[in-house]
Symmetry: C2
Subunit: 118 residues, 2 copies
C-alpha cells in the first residue's frame, strides 16, 4: 500500500502566566521588520494593517525588560524601525525553539503524519 | 539584583498543508473525553458548548484515516464517547511532542523567560 504522507510542522507559542508572549506570528513580524526596516512594510508582507502591526510591536516591547523594536518617528510612511540587540536575541531564541522542537519531535510527528488522511 | 523570572511554557500546534490538525485545545478535549467518557462533559470542562465540542471531534475524526473518538448515539445527555486505539495513540504522540519540546528547548526558553518583565 503506497501512501502519500502529509507534510507536518509545528507552530509554537511561548506563553507566560500573563498570556502569550511569542508565537510564530510575532516572530515572523520581527523577521520582516529586520528585513524591511519598517513596521508598515513588515505588516504589509503579512497582510496586516499598520495599526495591527504597531499594536503587536508595542505588546512585545511592553512584555520585555527593554524594547525589542525601536522605531524612529517619521512621516506618513513611518521613519523606519529596527530590532534592538535584545530583539535579535529573542528572535534567535524563538527560532532555536522552533528548530530544536521540530528535530527532537521527529518521531511522534511522523507518527501523526502517517495516520492522517492522504 | 534579585529578579522574579516568569514561568514560561510552550503551546504547540501540529499543522499540515491543509490546516491545523492538533493543538493544545483539541488534545485537551481528547484527554477530557478519555477521562469523562462524554463529549458533552469534556466540552463543559473546557467552557465549550456541546456543538463546538462535537465540531472539533468531527474535524479530528475527519482528518485522520480512522476516527479518534467514537460516540454512541444517546438521549439528551449523549450516549457516551471514548477514544479509539488510534485516538489514544495520537494523543500520546501529541503529549510526547509537548514533553520533548519543553525539555529540548529549556535553554532558549530560559533565555526568553529571563528577559521578560518580572
Amino acid at each position: 500500500m503506497s501512501k502519500c504522507v502529509q507534510r507536518t510542522s509545528l507552530h509554537i507559542r511561548v506563553i507566560t502566566e500573563a498570556g502569550v508572549v511569542f508565537g510564530w506570528g510575532r516572530a515572523d513580524l520581527l523577521s520582516h521588520i529586520a528585513n524591511t526596516g519598517s513596521i508598515a512594510a513588515a505588516g504589509r508582507q503579512m497582510g496586516m494593517s499598520y495599526k495591527r502591526a504597531w499594536a503587536l510591536v508595542e505588546a512585545l516591547n511592553h512584555a520585555f525588560e527593554s524594547a525589542l523594536v525601536e522605531a524612529a518617528k517619521g512621516g506618513a510612511g513611518g521613519g523606519g524601525a529596527h530590532l534592538t540587540p535584545l530583539g535579535v536575541e529573542m528572535l534567535a531564541a524563538y527560532r532555536e525553539i522552533e528548530l530544536v522542537s521540530t528535530e527532537a519531535c521527529a518521531a511522534p510527528l511522523a507518527k501523526i503524519a502517517a495516520a492522517l488522511k492522504p
